[in-house]
């Protein structure tokens, strides 16, 4: 029958957008994003790519699970077309990501995952590009009692076990555990493949389920464990001394001279 893999995919404003498109509204404690399309969090795309590679070798199916409000159907469709078989959207106006803490998100995703059982493997990103947290995946694993391995640069499945190459600051280590398990995926896995137009068309026919909070077995409200009390733009701009010269080579020489005089080198 093959494996059932669930990929947790969060929708975020394109993190590669220019700094000017992220407007920090301190009074509202929120970042207003201007002119940036939503995308799947890049590490979640890596997770989906890892899932597709496993499916190619071992067979099975992939379910994409996303939680939020106003989830872009076009973005989901494109991700599904890359190689998933179904999508489940936990969608509700109240699910404003800027207001949910990692704990609440993990509780909701764990409850949604219970409705998708049985599954063999849950893959998620090492961290979301908006929260920059890296907490939700391990939270979900803990809530569901799954063994978890983080920071995968490679994920393979064989004989009911998952083998992970885990990124370290000076290399990597190999960690194994039995399925079902959860693995958080890092960028080293590689980019998500592009779906063909044909695949995008076909993906429109794949099953998509919308889940509401009332469909989940959770008691509300979920208690938050942390609270954002302030939000500010980063302090990073400096006044830059531009080295002027007739040619780039001369500018290079002058730069050396200047750094020497200022005792920077």
């Amino acid at each position: 029958m093959g494996l059932h893999i669930v990929v947790l995919a969060k929708m975020v404003p394109d993190p590669e957008g220019p700094p000017s498109s992220f407007e920090v509204r301190s009074e509202e404690k929120r970042v207003a994003v201007r002119g940036l399309p939503p995308v799947i969090n890049p590490f979640d795309e890596n997770a989906l790519e890892a899932a597709i590679r496993i499916k190619e070798r071992a067979g099975g199916s992939i379910t994409l699970l996303s939680l939020g409000r106003n989830l872009s159907r076009a973005v989901i469709l494109k991700a599904v077309a890359a190689g998933a078989d179904a999508s489940v959207l936990v969608e509700e106006d109240s699910l404003d990501q800027a207001l949910l803490d990692s704990r609440s998100t993990a509780v909701l995703l764990a409850a949604a995952l219970r409705t998708l059982e049985p599954f063999d493997l849950v893959l998620c990103g090492r961290q979301a590009s908006d929260t920059n947290a890296g907490v939700v995946g391990l939270g979900v694993a803990q809530l569901l009692g799954l063994p978890a391995v983080t920071l995968a640069q490679k994920v393979e499945v064989a004989d009911g076990r998952v083998m992970v190459e885990r990124v370290l600051s000076d290399g990597y280590e190999v960690v194994e555990c039995p399925l079902p398990a959860l693995v958080t995926v890092s960028g080293e896995v590689g980019d998500l493949r592009y779906p063909s137009l044909q695949a995008i068309r076909a993906a429109k026919e794949l099953p998509q389920r919308i889940v509401r909070l009332q469909d989940l077995e959770i008691s509300l409200p979920i208690e938050a464990w942390v609270e954002t009390v302030s939000l500010a733009p980063p302090r990073r701009e400096r006044s830059c001394r531009m080295v002027e010269a007739d040619t780039p080579a001369e500018a290079g020489e002058r730069l050396a001279q200047l750094l020497w005089e200022d005792k920077v080198v």
Binding site: F22, V31, S129, G134, G171, P234, R241
Partner: protein, 328 residues
């Protein structure tokens, strides 16, 4: 004295069993925060030969050091660490637990947060005390900085390098307390082989000068020139993410929000545009020099010195002038 303490630092050790620099920085930070709220600061050392690091930590600011020296702890196993720390914290309640924002800290603290029901803030760039702990961290890829409060009695945080300051050794040292518990034998995770990547001539985090290249270096050959410059300046070579993705340099070179965080006295950014993810990893450097052929590149806004031009023309002249100045 009550046998609970306020702040607990999780130690990581280098291969020669001494505490890492980041561990000493966390202890310095813990010391400062503990002093502000009349608490004590402790450290936990798990590992084979844990007594070595424990003695050093006791002299570098820890009032108490819990340690467990056991051959079964030679390698980090998340479930073993989580079990031991969870029971230690249940026996000795703390109000704050700190770990480095490392592959260990990022893995361990979320597990503890959910097993202990404690709020966690990861990747902190500052922690202050104003009646409660206030944690500061970058969000939105470094495009904003959030101030966060933890609502549970125990707060957990992973902290970046250079947020705290290591304390000089002093005596008498703190108290050493062996942990009276065997590492659990049952774990679902098996940690197998460890592979090291070439470390380069000089580790990035320690370097006084970092010379980094970006996508505009165009390939491995470009990085040869940067290596030459780094050698001349006595520094290390770093990179933005594209050169790592392209395989021009090992991933251990990556500087940024998902790479290394550095704050050298001098950071030279060559053919790097200045994305917020990159800036998040080097924005606190002493002086920043940018070389970029695009006069509009954002990196110039966050640099102290800038040269507009193709690195192929700028760098050779820069290098030979530097040599001339150095030998004069």
């Amino acid at each position: 004295m009550k046998d609970s303490m306020d702040i607990l630092v999780i130690s990581e050790q280098t291969d020669d069993k001494s505490p890492t620099r980041l561990t000493l920085e966390l202890l310095g930070l813990g010391r400062r925060l503990a002093a502000e709220n009349n608490g004590r600061v402790g450290a936990v050392v798990l590992g084979e030969g844990a007594d070595i690091a424990s003695r050093e930590l006791a002299e570098r600011g820890a009032d108490l050091v819990y340690f467990l020296d056991n051959p079964a702890l030679s390698r980090y196993n998340p479930e073993v660490w989580a079990t031991l720390l969870e029971s230690l914290l249940r026996r000795n309640p703390a109000s704050l637990m700190l770990a480095g924002h490392t592959s260990l800290g990022q893995d361990l603290l979320p597990r503890l947060a959910f097993s202990l029901g404690a709020g966690l803030v990861t990747d902190c760039v500052e922690i202050r005390w104003d009646g409660s702990f206030l944690f500061t961290k970058p969000v939105y890829g470094g495009n904003a900085v959030a101030g966060i409060k933890v609502l549970t009695p125990l707060a957990l945080a992973t902290v970046r390098a250079r947020v705290g300051e290591a304390l000089p050794p002093s005596s008498p040292g703190g108290e050493l307390i062996p942990i009276d518990q065997d590492p659990p034998q049952e774990t679902r995770l098996t940690v197998k082989d460890r592979h090291y990547l070439e470390a380069g001539e000089c580790p990035l985090e320690e370097a006084r000068v970092v010379v980094s290249g970006g996508r505009g270096m165009g390939g491995e050959e470009g990085f040869e020139v940067l290596r030459e410059l780094a050698r001349l300046l006595g520094g290390a070579v770093g990179a933005s993410r594209p050169p790592v993705d392209a395989g021009w340099v090992p991933s251990t070179c990556q500087v940024g929000i998902t790479g290394k965080v550095v704050a050298p006295a001098l950071y030279v950014a060559v053919a790097i545009s200045g994305s917020s993810q990159h800036l998040s990893g080097m924005g606190d450097s002493g002086k920043i020099v940018a070389i970029n052929k695009d006069p509009e590149a954002y990196i110039f806004k966050v640099s102290d010195y800038g040269v507009v031009g193709d690195w192929r023309e700028v760098l050779p002249a820069f290098l030979s002038k530097l040599r001339e100045l150095a030998s004069a």
